[in-house]
Amino acid sequence: MCLGVYGRVLGVTGELAVVDFGGGLTKEVLVGVEDVKGGDYVVVHAGVIVSRLSEKDFAQVFSILEEAARRIGENNQEAMKYLERVRVRLKEKTEATHLAGGDVDRP
């Protein structure tokens, strides 16, 4: 039951929020976190918003890897090369996703 579904909040009324799960599926769920507002990306579990998705921290995970490679890279050139390739690919992927627009904001 660690299953969580990512969704986007369409609107909040008191302790209830309507969340868009994509594919035309929307559902009313309980607000289980502080200060949720329309447009937020959230993790929903068993009908409750349990967490928010943060874009700010999105790439942080790769910086953990970078740091890892830097340490091991002192005597391992290969690790640094992986990381460089990871960085380039990550940039490509995120830029491609953004250019594609992903979800389109309703006017």
């Binding site: 660690c2 447009g39 990306y41 995970v61 091991i72 995120t94 953004h98 979800d103």
Partner: protein, 387 residues
């Protein structure tokens, strides 16, 4: 009209990318070559959570790991560890005319003892009793409010799920005819139990969504008390691969610590609102885990002032004490060992013979997060990296 960055699309695009996965697999191999020189034994990494087991199996992660790096399942499937007694009590109440609500996952959960020929809530429904499958507790509360008949909810779940109960209660959404069979369980005590009782675990991939509630900090005891590296990870294939790489790095450096890989949603302190709600309605008690037994301070029970919500209180059902607890798996089922990472589903003689997802014999074959069910549906260790 502006284009928004859709974090869902971005997550899938990045965290399921085959090229990135390939690079991280190379990194894992590289670390492993160096770890091998230090460690004589295999490195055994526990996927604490059923959803990690799902990701590992579904994406064939075992098939791309070096032979010495072993991924084992852990006790993180709440349906698998819900004591048989709770299912028997729910079935009995259904037979007595109470409307029973359950999640789809626990609907087929087989009990050890049949009640009037019914071994599960699905059997009870087939016998014409009022058992209703719902997506959420909120749906059950709303439905129960419409018919006003005596009703219970089989409230299984870990820290991620239990705020759903507390939140609905605090918002006065639970009608007076609905009570809960409170089967909530806490994951850190079970992780502690696993590392104490089950041989050597070299690292733990700690549950991501549980940690959104508890905060990653609850896993500090793993490195600090047991010297076991721990990484709180997400559920995409890259999340799991990165967690493995980080654990290997910690082993290599000889510095076990706790890291958050799933930083896009997990913080150190967790969800304050949900934690406060849990604290308000529930107290922490010693509790039974199916196939394992009692684990200290691992369960949630209603506080005295909210006991009118407790189905066992309302219907006069007494839970077995620690002394009265009996092993609650059917003969031959080795779920207890599977969820503690000491056996693989395929080690069980019943696996895909007497026990299949269509006709589950043991609890780990029921839930989509049960290790046996995952192995049955995905073909064991998986051979293809589907990224």
């Amino acid at each position: 009209m502006a284009h928004a960055k859709d974090l869902r699309t971005l997550t899938k695009s990045v965290f399921r990318d085959g090229v990135l996965a390939g690079e991280i697999v190379k990194m894992i191999n590289d670390y492993w070559e160096q770890v091998k020189l230090k460690e004589t034994s295999v490195v055994k990494i526990m996927n604490f959570c059923g959803t990690h087991e799902y990701a590992s199996t579904h994406y064939g992660i075992r098939s791309v790991l070096p032979p010495g790096v072993e991924l084992v399942a852990g006790p993180g499937c709440p349906v698998c560890i819900t004591p048989s007694f709770y299912v028997e009590a729910a079935v009995k109440l259904a037979i007595e005319g109470v409307t029973v609500y359950t999640y789809g996952d626990s609907y087929k959960l087989p009990a050890v003892k049949a009640v009037d020929g019914c071994r599960s809530l699905s059997d009870a429904r087939m016998m014409g009793h009022d058992v209703r499958v719902v997506y959420s507790f909120l749906d059950a509360a709303r439905d129960a409010a419409t018919h006003k008949k005596p009703s219970v909810f089989l409230a299984v779940g870990f820290e991620t799920t239990c705020p759903a109960y507390a939140s609905a209660i605090s918002n006065n959404l639970v009608p007076p005819n609905l009570t809960l069979i409170m089967a909530g369980r806490l994951t850190p005590p079970a992780a502690k139990y696993s590392v104490e009782r089950v041989g050597k675990v070299s690292g733990v991939i700690a549950p991501g969504h549980v940690s959104t509630i508890t905060g990653a900090g609850v896993w500090r005891f793993l490195p600090e008390e047991y010297g076991v590296p721990a990484v709180v990870a997400g559920f995409e294939p890259l999340d799991v691969l990165i967690a493995i790489a980080l654990i290997l790095r910690q082993i290599l450096e000889g510095e076990p610590r706790l890291e958050i890989e799933y930083s896009r949603t997990v913080t150190w302190e967790g969800n304050r609102k949900a934690k406060a709600l849990l604290e308000r309605y529930f107290e922490v008690v010693d509790a039974a885990w199916r196939g394992i037994g009692f684990i200290e301070r691992s369960g949630l029970a209603f506080r005295e002032e909210y006991s009118d919500l407790d189905a066992f209180r309302v219907y006069g059902i007494r839970e077995p004490s620690r002394e009265e607890w009996r092993h609650d798996l059917l003969p031959g089922c080795i779920c207890g060992q599977v969820i503690l990472g000491s056996a693989k589903p395929s080690d069980c003689k019943m696996f895909m013979k007497a026990c299949t997802p269509g006709t589950p014999y043991g609890p780990c074959m029921v839930s989509t997060e049960g290790a046996c069910s995952i192995w049955a549906r995905m073909g064991g260790s998986g051979v293809v990296l589907e990224v």
